[in-house]
Amino acid sequence: MTLLQRLAPLMMLPLCSCNGWQSALDPHGESAISLKALILLIVTVCSVVWMLVMIALILALRRSHPPRPRPLQRDPRTARRMGATVIAAVAATVAVISGLTVASFFTTRALAVAGRDDLTIKVSGLQWWWNVEYFGATPDQNFTTANEIHIPVGRTVRFQLEGDDVIHSFWVPSLAGKQDLIPGRPNELSVRAERAGVYRGQCAEFCGLQHAHMAFFVIAENESDFDKWANAQRRPAAQPTDADAVAGQQAFLSKPCAACHAIRGTKATGTSGPDLTHVGSRKYIGAGLFETTRGSLAAWIADPQTLKPGNNMPLVPLSQQDLLSISAYLASLK
């Protein structure tokens, strides 16, 4: 095996990041597409400039230099040529930099523009999860969810972003650029998905121990699916029917769970943890930590500090029976 053959897999490794559900090079959103074009423009122009400089440098080094007996005395023709070269180089530099600045300005300016009638979603960043609020036409149509954002394809969505404890950053590489979530200073970001799909987002500003486990998912779907989802989310939690889940609801409400978590339609109205009204319908729990299954819910409740050390959920002592029934209840909250 030659060295090249050995190195080939290594060299191809970076190519893996060119597509997938979290890649700025595989854009599916309006602003991500224009950002990719900007990236390509800047990389191309800079590569050409670099190549030209390198070629000029190599030519200058390889040229033979006749000895100059009196180096301080300049031939006026050479001096003129040198002056012209320097002026041309400076002019080219100014032209390239201002051209790229103007292109960058127009691309990024378009990202922040959103109309008033657009769908508005408020996203709050917390250590280490995302609180998501949807605003309807009337206040009774508002609802809250966490770590999973559904948006309609082909419609501009306005995100209102604010941090609740420290600075976080909202980044869905496949759909849009980054925007910081700063406590006390609301930011906005408009996003338009051009194709349906599940896109992974990630906190992009170091925010503490579990920064790496602060993911979320944006699910772009067509208008009718989105309406169906939003209507289902607006409804209060389903009352449990099977005996296990009924016992689970009892245990959930009598244990400390209800102090931090809300389940609409029950007496649980805590706000310091994620809203669990339809937790069974979300794809992941723990901000992208595990897929939602009854088993992963039970594991999380049994020992949250070992699975995600430092997070704000304490271990609550539960009997085996309580743990089983609470996980059955939460998994049933579709």
Binding site: D165, P256, P309, N312, P314, L315
Partner: protein
């Protein structure tokens, strides 16, 4: 010069040992740690021997003290005791300990509750959580600084830093008790 460099190297070796974080106690150890011996009047007593065998981890380990600080807000202690200044419940910062400043007394207060309103947290917290919280509360009302301190707040801290022995600064002789119905005075 060479001796100095050697000394510096030896000192730097000390940095290799990191404080251990025990994320979760072994169930048998937790069971034993729950068996404190309390005096008949509920004030003072001795912790189980394993507590000393472990090296008094809830008073000397910064991670445990930090966890205690988190538990203080998670379990709503501030609803009655505010940020240590007291309110409905007694203050910790003033250096008055109605049931003594020993870890076992504080542990028993949290686990079993006390008359005049302190609820029992026996079913709401695990044994090591109660120990962690007790260690933090002892730090809040300490007259002399401990070798370990919990981490600082991200937001405004309304009382002196825990590693400055707040009670030594804020001790209040009275005679105005925060709450006259505090139960038996020691």
């Amino acid at each position: 010069m060479r001796l100095f460099v050697l000394f510096l190297c030896i000192v730097m070796l000390g940095g290799c040992e990191r404080e251990e974080r025990q994320l979760r106690l072994d169930p048998p150890v937790a069971n034993v740690l729950d068996q404190i011996k309390l005096m008949p009047n509920g004030i003072g007593g001795t912790p189980p021997e394993v507590y000393f065998a472990l090296g008094r981890p809830y008073e000397t380990n910064a991670y445990n003290l930090s966890e205690g600080k988190r538990l203080y807000s998670w379990f709503g202690c501030s609803a009655c005791h505010a940020d240590g200044q007291g309110g409905i419940g007694p203050s910790f910062l003033d250096g008055w300990w109605y049931y003594g400043p020993e870890m076992v007394s504080i542990f028993a207060s949290i686990r079993d509750g006390r008359p005049h309103g302190m609820p029992a947290f026996r079913d709401k917290m695990t044994t090591d959580q109660i120990w962690q919280l007790a260690g933090y509360i002892q730090t809040l009302g300490a007259y002399s600084a401990k070798t370990a301190a919990p981490s600082r707040n991200d937001d405004l801290q309304a009382h002196p830093a825990e590693n400055r022995a707040p009670a030594a600064i804020l001790f209040d002789q009275g005679p105005t008790p925060v709450h006259p119905e505090q139960g038996p005075t020691p």
